[in-house]
């Protein structure tokens, strides 16, 4: 697959991931208003010690109206991503601004991967296509390998108990019947060990073409499963947007 097609595919997938991120926050915009949980009038207390120009800039960008403008701009940049090269920089700036407003991230690791994809795409379209794609690919491999190795430190993951614990957490609202099914010892162990094997073994995607196809196919299924079970929809869209870069990088450099 030629480099230009890979970049275009990445742009389309990043456009979807960015648009979903912006629209989801626009849907719950009342949470950002003065009476909402994430009112800037409350959050701004944490930047009270910053220099006056930074406070003034933060008030302008992160107030209710400013945040809605940033979200609208993020959505517009998402729509423009497949067409205009510079849209990646705008989408990147908006994504970082939203994360900063929400004290570091709104949706955890999915925000971080969206920043990685948009930054890599922006670099790729600014005259360094292979560097941008290689950056996305490297972060993608690291994301799985680090997540897998970190899990090995927890005995519940090593014993195969972790999956049953996670599906029972109220934070993810896993439907009761699905949670009961996944918490069965055999299924829970299978799910837990499969997760460990996939994440720790993901760097094998760099070995050859067949391994790369297999790893990306399993990865797509893994994220779709997480989206269905845990409701982690943004991880599905965002990680998918990083896959073309790995495919290209693995075939080009290795």
């Amino acid at each position: 697959m030629p480099e230009s097609i890979v970049i275009e595919l990445t742009a389309w997938l990043a456009a979807v991931a960015t648009a979903v991120a912006a629209i989801e926050l626009l849907v719950v915009h009342r949470a950002l208003g003065d009476r909402g949980v994430f009112a800037w009038s409350v959050l701004r207390r944490e930047v009270a010690g910053a220099p006056a120009p930074i406070r003034a800039l933060a008030d302008a960008i992160f107030g209710t109206r400013g945040t809605l403008v940033v979200l609208a701009l993020q959505l517009a940049a998402a729509i423009a991503l497949p067409i205009f090269d510079q849209a990646a920089w705008i989408a990147l700036a908006c994504t970082i601004a939203i994360a900063v407003r929400f004290r570091g991230t709104y949706n955890g690791g999915s925000d971080a991967m969206l920043v990685v994809v948009l930054l890599g795409l922006a670099i790729a379209r600014s005259g360094w296509p292979r560097a941008g794609l290689a950056y996305i690919a490297a972060q993608l491999v690291l994301s799985y390998a680090i997540a897998g190795l970190a899990k090995l430190g927890d005995p519940r993951w090593r014993r195969g108990d972790a999956f049953a614990i996670l599906v029972a957490l109220p934070a993810y609202g896993v439907p009761a019947r699905l949670a009961a099914l996944l918490a069965r010892p055999a299924i829970g162990r299978l799910g837990g060990f499969a997760t460990l094997a996939f994440e720790c073994g993901f760097p094998i995607a760099l070995a050859n073409r067949t391994a790369c196809i297999a790893a990306l196919a399993v990865g797509a299924a893994f994220h779709l499963g997480n989206a269905i079970v845990f409701g982690l929809d943004r991880f599905w869209w965002t990680w998918l947007a990083a896959y073309p870069a790995l495919w290209f990088t693995a075939r080009t450099f290795l």
């Binding site: 991967m113 108990d161 999956f163 409701g231």
Partner: protein
């Protein structure tokens, strides 16, 4: 929270679900009522692709975890009504989360339970906002 922490999206840690433990749980009680857990919104069929309410609830969970982290960093003898706790932004945000689940004008309390402490921190009795956000 330090200003630099607001930029942590630029330095991803990639340590997802590295500890399979129960997360802190927020409970809310209207005056005279029993503690009710703050629950995630019901799952909808399209949430695998688009989940604004569920992701907002996850952002609320992050706020609760941040409050627990901040209180854990204080002297364990610090009382729940100490300004070091009640004056924090995280405390105010958790109060607002609880407020959303209470009828306008009602008296209520909230508490956060952790796996090690069912009464990790408890608010005084508060009056819910006049209108929900």
């Amino acid at each position: 929270m330090r200003l630099i922490d607001r930029f942590r999206v630029l330095l991803p840690s990639w340590r997802f679900f590295d500890r399979a433990v129960a997360s802190p749980q927020l409970y809310i009680a209207e005056a005279g009522g029993a503690w009710q857990p703050f629950a995630a919104p019901p799952r909808r069929w399209f949430n695998w692709a688009f989940a604004p309410a569920a992701n907002l609830a996850l952002a609320y969970r992050s706020v609760i975890e941040q409050l627990v982290a901040e209180i854990s960093a204080l002297d364990p003898a610090t009382p729940d009504d100490d300004p070091a706790i009640t004056g924090s932004v995280s405390y105010e945000l958790v109060t607002r989360i609880a407020c959303e689940r209470v009828a306008p004008g009602a008296r209520f309390r909230w508490k956060v339970a952790t796996p090690d402490d069912p009464d990790f921190v408890e608010s005084a009795e508060l009056t819910a906002c006049r209108s929900r956000s």
